[in-house]
Every structure is written in structure tokens, then in C-alpha cells.
Amino acid sequence: MDIYRENIIEHYKNPLNHHPMEDATLVDEDLNPLCGDRIKIWVKLDGSTETVESMTFQGNGCAISQATTSMLTEVVPGMSIDEVESISQEDIRELVGVSLSPVRLKCALLGIKVVQAALLKYRANQIKNGE
């Protein structure tokens, strides 16, 4: 059962940082309508350095989407906004570490999609506010 390496099942059963965040800079949510997978994320930014301080999530759905997002909460903190925005499909594939069919890849990408969308809105707001 290659693709469900213990790692994924472990993250699925005991997801990391799986709770809301009181003092989050950003909150966002999305779903994969084909699966019903749903992810909500909280991100705290350090505004001066434009760096992610911490990230939490909640959601439900398949092991792939939940475990990948759980892994992200470990990887993303410490990255700059630009670095997070440039996380690619390939990076996610590596993170998951197992081969994914096109349908399942969408599950794996859901978490990063929500984070990147939230950061994009943050940037757009900065520009609007003339910062």
C-alpha cells in the first residue's frame, strides 16, 4: 500500500496544528467540489518581514488532502510570502512523497491552494490600501 505510507495515515489520524487560531492575520477556506474535501486555514504573518509565523487548519475530507495540509503547517512557517506563493505542484508531490493520479493530485493541492489564495488577497489589499 505504497501511496498510503504510514506518514500520511499518521498525519490523517493525528493532524498537526489542527485548530483555529485566535490572532490570525489571514483566514480562508475552500473546497474541492468533486470530492467534498474542505479546508479552512489560519495564518499569522510577520508584517515587517513578510514572513509566515504560524499556520493552523481544520477540515474534513480524504487522507491525502488532510495529511498534506497537516504537513504544510510544518513547512510553511518561516517562509516569506513570495516563497509560499512559489510552491509548485512538484513541491507538493515531493512533500507527499507518493505517486498521485490526476484526480488525487487535486486533493493534495487543496491545502496550498487555500493558503496561496489567502496570501494573494492579502497582497491585493496591500496594493488597494496604497501600502
Binding site: M1, D2, I3, Y4, I9, Y12, K13, L34, C35, G36, D37, N60, G61, C62, A63, I64, S101, V103, R104, C107
Partner: protein
């Protein structure tokens, strides 16, 4: 596949082994040299060599456009294509002019929705059910929105069938069409068509059956069920993709507006206006799928040779066994009717880990696939129904005439492993 005459004497397992030999796909291996266990038949069935050969034969020897050609190939192709309409008609007790070849069930359902649109006015009602496949829901949402007609829904009873009492309430003299699934592609329910047909006609409503999941699996006669329309797909009953049927009562079709215009559906045209061809050609615009239609005829003859009662029995026995075995575990939840006699060969279920946590169907199907087992997971194009089941998705096993008890045993074994792995 030649069936020996004495029905009861013949061991069903031996019959299924004979049937399997007709399906070349089972001779190959999938993934890492695994046997294919194909349990996604409600999505599409595999094709016997007779059907594949019928396609090859047509394109190798008889390929031509039909109806208009005054040459040998066109005459032969036209005869074969008409004969295919007759063969499909035979399966459901209809005559050739009532058999419209569509590309799939969805086109048939849309054809009726669009034709009805021309007759609807605000206040008219269209009655569907809570078990609809998207293809029997969305076309009617659209025409209701455009015409001001109202959508109403027959509720599901506790026994997971369309509720007759609810039907009696929602169908009124304002109802212009009742369109419901004969068999649910999620719950497996075989719904009480005769009764709903009667209620609809008492109110002078048209009555359409979405037969995508019933025509391939159980004996059906339009004379008994008395629908005005019955839509089904070839690809779910051994035929190639790209071909399906909309049955319509001749008297209703005569008065009905076509969906598509052009080509052979026309009798006579000026720059200003046009008149239509005879049934069923009035509803088959443009060059039809002649090869697909002929192969559909071959598929239907395969099923008629086998006998639809026997098809039903093979699936019934498999379903019965699967459900019995699943009930012996404590981590499988089965959806749909309890009563096996109101159930086709479709079983939706979820599995849980030892803490009662849902193992997501997408994970289940991925893990089954790694063992060569093809099932479907998701909302099965019936999202509102799935939501009403309070689950994000289900796993679905669906049978056809070539499935075996061994395949069920093997699948259950892998499901047990998945349960353990997530526990």
C-alpha cells in the same frame, strides 16, 4: 456465448465463467500484473468481443452514410441501422419508430426537457424525485427557470424507495411531466414505476423513466410500465459509448419538438421553413452514429440471448452475497433498501476505522485500485442525494453479468486491510 437450453440445470457460476470468456479485457493484467476486478459497471460496462467485432465488421465492410445513398454500401448500412432500432425496440417491447438513437441517456433526458419547454407556462409543474442523477435534474432546473414552471420532488420513503404517498401529493393536475429514475445509481433502489406511471397519467401528465440503471439490468416492457418516454445508454449495457436510446410513444413523439435540426431529420426545406421526416428519424439530426447503433443492436441481442431474467438473477445473487458478507463486519455502513428484492446490483457503502472515523471513499478506492479493483467513489453525479445521506461521498460497487463471488471475497479482504491500516 451459446447458452444451453435448460435454464435451471445450468450452474450459474459456470455460465458466468462462459460469459467472462467473451470479454477480452479480463484477459489482460492491470498495474503490477494484477487481475482486473471491475466493479464500476453503473458507470460503464465492459464490452464483449461480439460487440467489438460488430464495430470492426461495420467499419471494415459496410461503412457508409445511411438513408439517402443509392449505392450498395449505403443500402446495407441503412438496413443494418434500421434493424438495430428494431432490436433495441424488442428489448423493451417497442416498435422501431419509437426508438430514437441518442448519444446517451443525458441527451434523451435533455431532448424531452427542451421539447417540453415549448409547451410550458408559469404555474405548470414538473415532478422529479430526491434520487435524481444530475442528468435528470439540471435540464429541468433550466427549463423551469426559463418558463416559470415549478419543480417538485417526490420524497424517499423509509424503505429507501420513491414514496407513493408523496407522489400522490406532489403530482397534481398542474403537473406536465413526471420524470424519475427506475433504479437509483446510488441507492440501488428499484422504484415502483407502475404506480407512479398510473398516478401521473391520472393527472394527464406525461411520464418519463430515467432507465439508465434499469434497462441494462432488469426485464422491462413499455407496454406494462406505460411511460411516455424512457431514456437509457448503450455503454451501460455492453454497447460502445456514444449511443443511447430515447423511447417515446409514437403519438407523443408526433407532437413533440425535436432537440436538433438538420440533415436527415428533414422532409422538405425552403430558405424560410422546413417540415420533418417520419419517426424516429425526425429526432435523429445529422449523420447518426451508424456503427455505434449497429453494435448497440449486437449488445442487445447478446442480452436477449442471455435473457434479462437471468441477468437479473446473476446480479441479485451477487448483491445478496455482498450485503450478507458486509453485514458480518462492524465497520461497513450500507446505503439503500434493506429488502433485496427492491434492489439492483448497486451497493453504496462507507467504511470506518476502529474508532468510528470515516475512511474517505477516495482513499478507499485508491487503495482498492492498487490491488486491481475498480470501484467508484464520490457523489456519483447525484450530489443533492449524497448530501441528504450526511456523508461527503460513498464507495459504490456495481455488478454486471461477468462478476463473480470470488471477486467479492477478494474485495472484502482488501477492504478489511484498509480498515486495519487506518485503525
Amino acid at each position: 456465448m451459446n447458452i444451453i437450453s435448460d435454464d435451471d440445470a445450468m450452474n450459474q457460476q459456470i455460465l458466468v465463467e462462459k460469459i467472462r470468456e467473451d470479454f477480452p479485457i479480463f484477459k489482460q493484467k492491470v498495474r503490477n500484473n494484477l487481475d482486473l476486478v471491475y466493479l464500476d459497471n453503473a458507470a460503464t460496462t465492459q464490452k464483449p468481443r461480439q460487440v467489438i467485432e460488430s464495430l470492426t465488421d461495420y467499419y471494415t465492410h459496410w461503412n457508409s452514410n445511411v438513408h439517402r445513398g443509392i449505392h450498395y454500401l449505403s443500402e446495407v448500412a441503412s438496413d443494418m441501422y434500421e434493424k438495430a432500432h428494431q432490436d433495441v425496440g424488442k428489448l423493451i417491447g417497442a416498435s422501431m419508430e419509437e426508438i430514437i438513437f441518442t448519444k446517451n441517456t443525458t441527451e434523451g433526458l435533455n431532448l424531452v426537457a427542451r421539447g417540453l419547454e415549448q409547451k410550458l407556462k408559469p404555474g405548470d409543474e414538473i415532478v422529479l424525485s430526491r434520487m435524481e442523477h444530475h442528468s435528470n435534474l439540471v435540464p429541468f432546473q433550466i427549463i423551469a427557470k426559463r418558463t416559470g414552471a415549478k419543480l417538485k420532488f417526490i420524497e424517499t420513503s423509509n424503505s429507501q424507495l420513491l414514496d407513493i404517498h408523496s407522489a400522490e401529493k406532489v403530482i397534481t393536475d398542474n403537473t406536465k411531466l413526471v420524470s424519475v429514475p427506475h433504479m437509483s445509481n446510488v441507492l440501488g433502489s428499484i422504484n415502483p414505476m407502475e404506480q407512479i406511471s398510473e398516478i401521473a397519467h391520472e393527472h394527464n401528465s406525461l411520464f418519463m423513466i430515467d432507465g439508465a440503471q434499469s434497462v441494462p439490468h432488469i426485464p422491462i416492457n413499455v407496454k406494462t410500465l406505460n411511460p411516455d418516454f424512457l431514456a437509457f445508454s448503450g455503454h451501460k449495457m455492453l454497447a460502445p459509448m456514444g449511443i443511447g436510446t430515447l423511447y417515446g410513444k409514437a403519438s407523443v413523439l408526433e407532437e413533440f419538438e425535436p432537440l436538433l435540426y438538420g440533415g436527415d431529420m428533414i422532409r422538405s426545406v425552403s430558405y424560410e421553413s422546413a417540415t420533418w421526416n417520419d419517426l424516429p428519424w425526425k429526432f435523429e439530426a445529422g449523420t447518426p452514429n451508424v456503427g455505434g447503433g449497429i453494435a448497440f443492436g449486437t449488445a442487445v441481442n447478446y442480452l436477449l440471448d442471455l435473457d434479462m431474467h437471468r441477468v437479473r438473477r446473476i446480479e441479485h445473487d451477487l448483491t445478496n452475497y455482498l450485503i450478507k458478507r458486509m453485514k458480518e463486519t462492524d465497520y461497513v455502513k450500507i446505503f439503500g433498501p434493506e429488502d433485496i428484492n427492491h434492489r439492483g446490483g448497486v451497493v453504496s457503502f462507507n467504511i470506518f476505522n476502529k474508532d468510528g472515523m470515516l475512511i474517505h471513499p477516495h482513499d478507499v478506492s485508491t487503495l482498492l485500485d492498487e490491488k486491481g479493483i475498480a470501484i467508484r467513489a464520490g457523489h456519483h453525479c447525484a450530489q443533492p442525494l449524497i448530501e441528504s445521506l450526511h456523508t461527503p461521498a460513498t464507495n459504490r460497487i456495481s455488478f454486471y453479468i461477468y462478476n463473480t463471488f470470488q471477486e467479492i471475497d477478494y474485495t472484502l479482504e482488501v477492504l478489511e486491510n484498509i480498515h486495519t491500516m487506518f485503525s
